[in-house]
Every structure is written in C-alpha cells, then in structure tokens.
C-alpha cells in the first residue's frame, strides 16, 4: 500500500474512533449502538497498519484489489448497522404501540373515575339537602 494511502486510512480510522468515543462520552450516543461503529473503526485501523492481513483477506475472498476488499467490508458493516437500526425501530414501534394503547385505556379509566366522583358528589349533596344522612338511597 502506498504510504499516502496508509496515512490517509490511519487518519480516517483514528478520527472515526475518537469521534465515536467522544459521542459516547458526551452521552450523545448510547453504548449499545457504539460498539458496531467502534468495531468498524478498529478494523479499518488494523487493516491500514497490517497490509499483509488485507492482502490475505483479499486473496481469501477472491477479490483482485485490496481496495475492493476495503469497499466490500465497508458495505458489509453498513448493512449490519442498518439491520441493527431496523431491529431497534421495530422494537420502538412495538413499545409506542403498547404505550398508545395504554394511554387510551388510562384516559378512559380517568374519565370513568371522574364520572363516578361527580355522580357520588351529586348524590351526597342531594342527601344533605333531604336531611337523610346515613340513609342510603338508590337514585
């Protein structure tokens, strides 16, 4: 690998790693999502430093150029990250569904309790008015 390419790859992977760590440190990114990104950054760094490994992988997967291997690996990681997001979105979807339903049911429960309360208040008032304290009457 030409030196220029090597330096460029190292700079990119290091900045990516630092950026992710910084995001996690500032709590902008949750740990559970950071690991796949950190893995990506680390692998780029390893491949940039260890050219023989890259060549070996290139040979292994039957690619012609080491650059194609890098592109290919990059693509695989992007797909993995997209799948991870899809899983999370499905999960969130389900949680939103349950929350919405719960919200509707609770709202209904509150309305019921309020209605019960106003009707018992009304009954009590009527009892007080009739001077029939202690005597229960169905209205």
């Amino acid at each position: 690998m030409p030196l220029r390419q090597k330096i460029f790859a190292i700079i990119i992977s290091l900045s990516l790693l630092l950026f992710i760590v910084e995001l996690v440190r500032r709590k902008k990114l949750r740990e559970e999502y950071s690991w796949l990104w950190l893995l990506t950054g680390t692998i780029i760094l390893i491949l940039a430093l260890w050219y023989d490994l890259l060549q070996w992988i290139t040979h292994l997967i039957g690619a012609r150029l080491p650059t194609s291997t890098l592109f290919f690996l990059g693509l695989v990681f992007l797909i993995l990250i997209a799948i991870q997001f899809s899983i999370k979105v499905s999960e969130l979807n389900n949680q939103v569904k349950n929350l919405t339903q719960e919200n509707g049911l609770l709202k209904n429960r509150i309305e019921e309790i309020e209605e019960e309360k106003t009707s018992t208040d009304r009954n009590e008032k009527r009892r007080d008015y009739n001077g029939e304290k202690g005597e229960k009457r169905e209205i």
Partner: protein, 245 residues
C-alpha cells in the same frame, strides 16, 4: 343465550363520523344486550363525538395507529373489564348489525372459540358484495391457502366481522397478534394455537363514501404481506396459547 354473560362490541373507527352513529344505533336495536366500545383511532373528524352521543363508550388513541392496533386496544379493554364474549365490527356500516346474534349464538353455545362472518359463504344467498379484481383474487387465493392449511373450509379470511370468547381475546391482546395487517394469517395462527373456528354467512354492504383499505397498490402489498406472514407463521413453533388461562 346466557343472559348473565357480559358482551362487548368493539368498533375500531378512523374518520367514520358519517356512519358511526347509524352503526351504533343498529347494534342497540339488534343486540341491546351488548355494550358498545368505539376505539377512536386518532380521527380528526367528529367520530368520537358522534359515537359518544349515540351512547357508546369511546377510547381515544392519541394518533392514528391503524386498524389492528385500535382493535387490539379494544380487546385489552374487554379483558380488563371482564367481558365474556366480544364482537368486532367495522364502523363504516359495511357490517350489518342484525347478524350479531347469529355470530354470538355460535360462540356462546361453545360450538367454536371464534366465529367469522363470511360474505362469500356457500349458504349465503344474498351474494351482493362486489370488490376489485385484485382484491377478489387475493381473497380467493388466501381463502384456499387458509382452507388447505387449517383443513377446514374458510371462504372469507379478510372479514373483520367476528365474534369470539375470552380465550381468543387473550390471544388477540398478546404480542403474537399481527397488528399491522391482521387477516388470513390470524386464522392460521388461531388454528395452530388450537382454537375452534367457524364461519357464519353474513351480508356486507358496499361502502361508497370511503376509499377502501384495499385500493390502489394496496392489494398487491396485501398479497405480498399475507404470503410472507403466512409462511413465517408456519415456520414458527406452535404455541399452545389457549392452554394458558
């Protein structure tokens, strides 16, 4: 029919302001022993007001979540309130309330756990319902697939006019229920969970006011989604859901 049984009619409604009051009136007339619950699925129109004025209980969802989710909310409510039997129907006037007693008769007598009102059933003499050809093909296709899988004749798997008991309601309220597009796959799931399914002929009225759930490209998506859902249902392990009580 056991007069002590508590029965709830569940109507998921999205923008049914024009028809909902009429539907509720029809239920009160034909099945006065039923409580009526309307799930207002975030409709911006007057659905909720009209339903309430007509004498139904109304549950509001804060935004439009779709038919299946609204329906499931109704089942969660019914279970919480201890209803014994539930009838589900549409709020657009497509389902004729005079068949509620036919549906309920089968579940309350214990002949089946869930009854489906079919517009295409063979003993149905009033064969008036017309649909687009893609939807029709879809219905026939899935009616056949479902019938083969559950080894029992099913003529209208898309019908949302159903009556069921508490055991099935528990299944509908569980996480296994496919909220995004409940259809033929639900019947297969019910069968695999060991529930007794029956069909009863009903008449469905055409709805002219509204664009159907099955219009435009939707029928194609419907066919695709159903094929996927049915295959995945078959790949899953059987869950003896009705054993849990």
């Amino acid at each position: 029919m056991n007069s002590l049984a508590k029965i709830l009619t569940i109507i998921p409604a999205f923008n049914e302001g024009k028809t909902i009051a009429q539907v509720i009136g029809g239920i009160q007339e034909n099945a006065p022993y039923c409580d009526i619950l309307v799930i207002n699925d975030g409709s911006p129109d007057t659905t909720a007001e009209h339903a309430k004025a007509a004498g139904a209980k109304v549950i509001h969802l804060p935004f439009n979540m779709g038919y299946g989710i609204a329906l499931q909310t109704g089942y969660k409510y019914a279970l919480e309130k201890g209803y014994h039997y539930m009838v589900q129907m549409d709020g657009d006037g497509q389902h004729d309330p005079q068949y509620i007693k036919d549906l309920l008769e089968v579940v309350t007598s214990g002949k089946a756990d869930v009854v489906i009102g079919s517009r295409f059933s063979k003993n149905n003499k009033t064969y008036t319902y017309r649909t687009g050809w893609i939807k029709k093909t879809g219905i026939i296709l899935f009616a056949n697939i479902t019938s083969i899988i559950i080894r029992q004749k099913v003529s209208d798997p898309t019908s949302g006019y159903q009556a069921l008991n508490r055991k099935v309601a528990k299944f509908y309220a569980s996480e296994s229920y496919p909220c995004d597009y409940p259809d033929a796959d639900v019947i297969i799931m019910l069968h695999r969970a060991g529930f007794q399914i029956k069909e009863v002929p009903v008449v469905m009225h055409q709805n002219r006011n509204k664009k159907s759930m099955h219009s435009g490209l939707k029928p194609l998506y419907y066919i695709f989604k159903m094929l996927l859902s049915i295959s995945l249902t078959l790949l899953r392990k059987r869950e003896p859901l009705n054993q849990r009580d």
